[in-house]
Subunit: 217 residues, 2 copies
Amino acid sequence: MLAIMSPMPSDHVPSTSAAPGRAASPRAESTRLALLAAAREEFAERGIAGARVDRIARRAGVNKERIYGYFGSKEKLFDAVIETALDELVEVTALPGDDPAGWVGRMFDYYREHPDLARLLLWEGLYGRTESLPEQRRRIAHCQDKIDSLAAHLGREPSHEIGRLLLTLIGLALIPLAFPQLAELFRTPVDGPEAAAEMREHLTAFVRMALANADFS
Amino acid sequence: MLAIMSPMPSDHVPSTSAAPGRAASPRAESTRLALLAAAREEFAERGIAGARVDRIARRAGVNKERIYGYFGSKEKLFDAVIETALDELVEVTALPGDDPAGWVGRMFDYYREHPDLARLLLWEGLYGRTESLPEQRRRIAHCQDKIDSLAAHLGREPSHEIGRLLLTLIGLALIPLAFPQLAELFRTPVDGPEAAAEMREHLTAFVRMALANADFS
DNA sequence: GGGAGTCAACCAACCGGTTGGTGGCCAATG
DNA sequence: CATTGGCCACCAACCGGTTGGTTGACTCCC
């Protein structure tokens, strides 16, 4: 009747700052945040498989071991980064309100100024998570507000169709960042402020026209 | 800056089948193609950093050493895969012709049936190539035909604006594959045939409306 | 014979993860 | 107040396994 000799049943609690037990010391919290920021840069640049834990630690000016002390593993660190990124996404994605086209333009600007966010989204989409993140229900509920806002502006009830429309709108703002090769194929300049301004104008005009006589089932 | 001290100054010529020297034997060509196909699967699933050369060789039923004999390195093998993918892309992307909305729907279907292609595009976009691939000019010229076709349908001259529009249209068809997490956030089902049909209908309707009174500068 | 491919072994570098130990902070103790 | 002692963040060094890449001897078959 040998009990299983697992030395520690993996109670790696302190994955988030909301650790229930003892309040984290300010010093500890600051290094945890430095690690998170450095990991975000590294993961945004190289993805999970391409990221190197040593590099993350060096970037943060922190010992590599702290990563495992705070997060447990490279993948859990990635998940923590993704969670902060998703929170930032749903927070920064204001309500479409009465101007969906302008909203797409603003989202486009934001992604241009913060490519990290878009790249993290792309990496994570390719990575193919199996089970959903904690707090995902809260994020989904938060996004429901945006669906409601868009539906109200269009004078319709919230529905899957409105959700699809919102997905399309956000996707539009992300296209230039996600497919630079396609832009090259179609000789569409993407770098530089004036190229961005033209692309932004194109996207907003496109959305404005699509929603001009919005009658979709 | 992992400059590996390669003893050979990398004159690995036979990267493509169009090796100038001697004609490749049919047997050699078949294993080269098997390697290419296996590499495509592996790279589409895991990206460059996540792919393993041993796995590629095993998948192809070929010895690992052959990869270096034919392609020289993992990265060059990836480039070869990307080149075939880009060729497939520009070939399969028929002219928009007189029905851009239906064309987007067909592209959407194609990407659904061949997720490999879309995933390879995403990986490569994130990878961030510095210099462009060989034969890229030919591909760009080929895409110019599509721009011309779309311009003709709209009764306009080919321009950067038409190129941007084409980029937007192709991007639209790729959104559901590129951003599954956003779809989850907006509760937009993506899997299953009927969900795909609805998404397809949404996209085509969106494009139809956007192009209904197409007057963009 | 000779090109094509296989197989097994090998290598240096590297990667994620672990460990023993150090030093500073702080509360209890005298 | 000074001493003690434990706790905690931190670090340098280390570990076992893996990775991309190479080599050379052997087989197969046109």
